[in-house]
Symmetry: C2
Subunit: 446 residues, 2 copies
């Protein structure tokens, strides 16, 4: 079958379900989610069997151990998927929520009601549990979803979608609302990204190159984040214990993720005290420190840093998303310089200040233009679950529609609803008997 035709046939099937989806009851949606959870539990062996095929293919292709680890399923990971489905079922239904309503002087009641976006295309890599996360969030928010996973997990994803569809059939949920791109042909993605009348939004999840390719080729609006160059600023009025713990947690606890910090920005007044201490602990954890001139001179022969790799930073290090046990260090004169630095080098994802000073904390919150801005906590909390949103569909560092973790509400949009009892603009109705016909010929107000 021709790729273009295939893409269109998938998108059309998904689109066809949108009206029915928009008026499904929360009950039916929850039943479909919980039935999927049950069927996952019942079909563990089958799932692991299909996953085994992916693992064998990946091994043959010589994929890295890290990638194998990401695509491997086991009972614990199936448990996690079941948990996601149960969590999403327990969350409030965003669809139909009237977020405000007011009465105009002429008696019109004008309000805004959340409705689904329509058809969502999600393009992702490796981990098969994204299939369950994305599908469950879309099902609960009454969106149709087109799932395009990585070729390395196609067998795992296929069985998971089969199970979802079986659950849909058993619960009167439209099964075409969950469409699976069942091919490893990458050109399908480009064809899908052209279907602006059929697909309403594309969400790429994965490495920066995948996301850039999607953003550049899409005629459909894309919600995305390219990378996470997160910054931690240690103010001179920081509590030393909080500063050390947060600097450690945000870099070391899980270094390969987008909400881990890559740059440590330190106020000069506290640098001499703070940097040797954190260098000591970073050394223990194997973190390499790429230092500006001031911090390099401070640390290179410092006894506390004797087991720490201290190297001079190049400017490009401050732009880099290391995703590894590496941190770039910058010493600044004051908060303004710190914010300048973050605005210049950061990726507007998650940034934190450690300070006991109220005014400086509030200034940081206000002026740092990022999806998530913290006072005295680790940036590692930028996550749908940690923020209490249930699952997440992705993180946006865009400026429109949504910033930060996107969950159920972000998969809806308010439309205007208007309840009238015969209101007419300028009170112009059908002319009475000999009344003159009035036509305002002014052009569009837009």
């Amino acid at each position: 079958m021709d790729v273009k035709q295939y893409a269109e046939s998938i998108a059309k099937k998904a689109k066809k379900t949108t009206r029915q989806l928009s008026s499904l009851t929360t009950d039916i949606k929850n039943k479909a989610l919980l039935k999927t959870a049950q069927l996952l539990d019942k079909n563990r062996q089958l799932i692991l069997q299909e996953n085994q095929k992916d693992l064998e293919n990946a091994e043959k292709k010589g994929y890295s151990k890290a990638l194998l680890d990401r695509l491997a399923l086991n009972d614990k990971r199936i448990d996690q998927m079941i948990q996601v489905l149960e969590d999403v079922a327990s969350l409030p239904d965003p669809v139909g929520e009237i977020i405000n309503m007011w009465t105009r002087p002429n008696g019109l009641k004008v309000g805004q009601m959340r409705v689904p976006l329509g058809v969502i295309l999600i393009i992702y890599e490796a981990r098969p549990n994204v299939t369950i996360e994305a599908a469950s969030l879309c099902m609960k928010s009454s969106n149709a979803v087109i799932l395009k996973g990585g070729s390395e997990t196609i067998n795992s994803n296929r069985i998971l979608v089969d199970i979802i569809k079986q659950a849909c059939r058993e619960t009167c949920f439209p099964e075409d609302a969950v469409m699976f791109v069942d091919t490893t042909d990458r050109s399908v993605v480009n064809e899908l990204l052209k279907l602006e009348g059929l697909i309403d939004v594309a969400i790429p999840r994965g490495g920066e190159s995948l996301i850039r390719a999607v953003a550049e080729n899409s005629r459909i609006p894309v919600i995305k984040h390219y990378k996470g160059v997160c910054n931690l600023y240690i103010d001179d009025e920081a509590d030393m214990e909080k500063a050390l713990n947060i600097a450690y947690n945000a870099k070391v606890q899980r270094p390969s993720v987008c909400n881990a910090i890559e740059n440590l920005v330190v106020n000069k007044k506290i640098a001499d005290k703070f940097l040797p201490e954190i260098a000591y602990y970073y050394g223990k954890a194997g973190v390499e420190m790429r230092c500006d001139e001031y911090s390099y001179n401070l640390l290179i022969n410092h006894p506390k840093a004797k087991d720490t790799e201290i190297v001079p930073a190049k400017e490009e290090d401050y732009y880099e998303e290391f995703l590894d046990l590496i941190i770039a260090v910058k010493v600044v004169e004051d908060l303004d310089e710190a914010i300048d630095f973050i605005e210049k080098y950061g990726s507007h994802h998650s940034d934190a200040i450690v300070t006991e000073n109220y005014t400086k904390g509030m200034k940081f919150i206000q002026q740092v233009d990022s999806a998530a801005v913290y006072i005295n906590a680790s940036t590692r909390f930028t996550d749908g679950n940690e923020f209490g949103l249930g699952a997440e569909m992705g993180i946006s560092t865009d400026k429109i529609h949504a910033r930060g973790p996107m969950a159920l509400k972000e998969l809806t949009i308010p439309k205007f609803i208007v309840f009238g009892n015969g209101q007419l603009r300028e009170n112009v109705g059908i002319p009475k008997d000999e009344e003159e016909v009035k036509i305002d010929t002014q052009a569009c107000n837009l």
Copy 2:
């Protein structure tokens, strides 16, 4: 000067003001708006003089009377601009509004705070008052704005921007936050639309061809509506007087605007009674009716329609935005067929049902997927002012960020703000004495 350089220099100047803008007090913003209003009042003669130049050029070029009417300023129109400035000053400041905040089990306080979008490019045609509307909304919402008006109003726009900038200087508002593209060279627009790091969103206002050109050429997110093919459905349980008045108002009161109706969809059970009546009044107002087979046969020899132009409709008529005294008529069996029709031919702008039946009204509200959906009122109310939002920046028929009239709130986006007191993910802090270093090597949760 090179066009590319010129575009960049404008965008960079605007971008540079964004941090300062984000922490301006509401007081300063309102002072700048009210000072602009004062200076408009004081400089009426100068404004009319510059506007005269545009009018003379337009006349020389043989522009249509309609266009001349749209670009002409007079005392009444200057009064309207002053009113807009005063209205926007009196609206609540959306920036810094914390729309919700909750506490996580670990004590983290997570909230969402409205922040400006950043730099907004608005591309518009003809009417010079858009300059004042767009600038005032952006100023109040702490966005920098780049104004690109039509070449036919460049003199009028220039003087208006000069006045705004003078007001900015006198009130400590950063004047580079309002940038004016002072050239009639159209290639500047394409250069501006490439500056994705500097400009955050583009809003085109004007004809469909302008909007399509912007959407196709832009690397920046675009918020737009292509056209307004609005539909009115007359249900068989409609109140006849409301039906006639609304059908009349929505078509006749001002036919050239995007929220006027283009299609009249009538339930067959009421068609024989309703259509001859509305045909009578449409005939009085000079409205041509393009009819499907059923309505054509009903009206063509009907005495009530003897002064009305009744012609057979072609299918393409139902897709057409007439912006004129023409209406396409379709008779349907029931509500479902009406909604099918609206979803197929409409442009998802504004659609209304006239009915006394509660269940059918609510079904229409829920299932019609448009920016504004009405029961028993004219679609002509889709407008920022009529909805009570103050002014408007444009109308969106997109599915993301905003649907319907966009005003102050839609020029902001919530970011996450997090107040902690030392919270660490998985409680991993600096290791105590002999504690083992724990590093989770799992890859990005995204």
